[in-house]
């Protein structure tokens, strides 16, 4: 006669599944099952003492205080994102080129029509011809246009890039010394060009 396996004895003691037919005819297996049942019943009588009701509020406060000292969970922290970095770089490039283009228009242009903020004034049709070449032909504007078209607005917004009154200084202030040096050189080169015009 083949006795029950430990799995079958355990399942029988826990009352899982149909009891094997063998149990009815085997006293040894039946007593093993009964022993396990008794142990389970005895162990189940032990309960954890319930702490004071005040303990739970105190506990939650302790956890809250401890959590407050923790950094935010990873997903709540801004992570490095290529798209975001690329957007930031593109936006920075637009700023720099925008500054350069501004300085190229060394002479004021008579205008009656003002573009939106950030766009150059459009020359009056009846006024003096613009000193600068037409914008459509300006390679700088072509580059700017391409960069702007690659800029994902959502990414830029998510990265915290919004327009406002505080100029490029803030962006430039975040640059490294080397980057600032390069911007200065770029601006100086553009100024010299503007002075030659």
């Amino acid at each position: 006669m083949r006795h029950l396996s430990s799995d079958q004895i355990l399942d029988s003691a826990e009352g899982r599944g149909e009891p094997p037919a063998h149990l009815a005819s085997c006293l040894a297996c039946r007593s093993r099952v009964e022993e396990l049942k008794q142990v389970l019943a005895l162990a189940a009588t032990d309960s954890v003492p319930e702490p004071s009701p005040l303990f739970w509020n105190h506990f939650s406060e302790r956890v809250r205080d401890a959590i407050a000292a923790e950094p935010a969970p990873l997903s709540a922290r801004p992570r490095f994102s290529f798209a975001r970095t690329a957007s930031l770089a593109a936006a920075l490039a637009i700023i720099v080129i925008g500054v350069a283009v501004t300085m190229r228009t060394a002479e004021p242009v008579n205008s009656v029509v003002r573009g939106p903020v950030g766009l150059p004034e459009v020359a009056d049709i009846g006024g003096n011809p613009p000193l600068s070449p037409p914008l459509d032909d300006d390679p700088t504007w072509v580059v700017m246009g391409e960069l702007a078209s690659q800029l994902n607005l959502e990414d830029a917004t998510e990265a915290g890039l919004t327009t406002g009154p505080d100029a490029a200084e803030r962006a430039i202030a975040q640059m490294s010394e080397q980057e600032q040096r390069e911007v200065v050189e770029l601006l100086q080169a553009e100024l010299q060009k503007a002075n030659r015009l």
């Binding site: 490029a168 962006a171 600032q180």
Partner: protein, 213 residues
């Protein structure tokens, strides 16, 4: 350098051409301030809210699971002070690792896994201290037969002492199966074992307890 830059900017940039970069502060609240009430969120949504920066969502998680976590820790350490400290540790670790919760198991099971690890580390380092008799909850002796209550208390102490003698995995299996009524599959997930190993552990643990009791 900064002076050069400022003077160039001041002299050559028209006000309407300025562009500013504003980095908004990390918001802990939904942008519109009218996010769904936390009490209405299910557990995955609470986790998501917490990961989105709403730390009060974690308060809800603590409230939902603190009792079960405490009881599990108490089963390992056998006294209130250590159980309380371990439970706090469990929630702090859960907060730190919340981004790793994938929702494959319930949040409760995931917290149990942390609690078992924390508790086993604790009991490995220190023998469990059982609660002194005076610290046990007061029971009105007029309502029950004192002798039967005494007997029950002694039995409970014997059970705890016997469980404390089990090897770590058997002990965890007994606690999770008997007192937290987890399935063998859930226990296997928590302990990183197979279901077969869990059943074998449980069987041997019960056999040892039978000899000890």
């Amino acid at each position: 350098m900064a002076t050069d830059l400022n003077s160039i900017l001041a002299q050559n940039i028209k006000p309407e051409w300025t562009v500013s970069i504003v980095r908004p502060e990390q918001s802990l609240e939904p942008e519109d301030g009218t996010g769904p009430a936390l009490a209405e969120l299910d557990e995955p949504a609470l986790v998501a809210a917490c990961l989105a920066g709403r730390r009060e969502a974690f308060d809800m998680i603590v409230e939902l699971h603190r009792r079960a976590v405490y009881q599990l820790c108490y089963r390992f350490v056998g006294n209130h002070e250590d159980a309380s400290d371990l439970s706090q540790e469990v929630f702090i670790r859960a907060f730190r690792g919340l981004d790793r919760f994938r929702g494959d198991s319930s949040l409760g099971t995931w917290l149990y896994r942390i609690a078992v690890n924390v508790s086993l580390n604790k009991v490995s380092a220190k023998q469990p201290q059982t609660e002194p008799i005076d610290a046990r909850p007061h029971i009105d002796s007029r309502a029950v037969d004192p002798s039967s209550e005494l007997l029950r208390g002694e039995r409970a102490a014997q059970v705890r002492a016997a469980i404390a003698c089990l090897p770590k995995k058997q002990r965890a299996t007994v606690i999770l199966r008997i007192y937290h009524e987890l399935s063998h599959e859930e226990i296997a997930g928590i302990l990183g074992s197979s279901v077969g190993a869990v059943k074998t552990n449980f069987f041997h643990a019960l056999a040892k307890l039978r000899n000890l009791l």
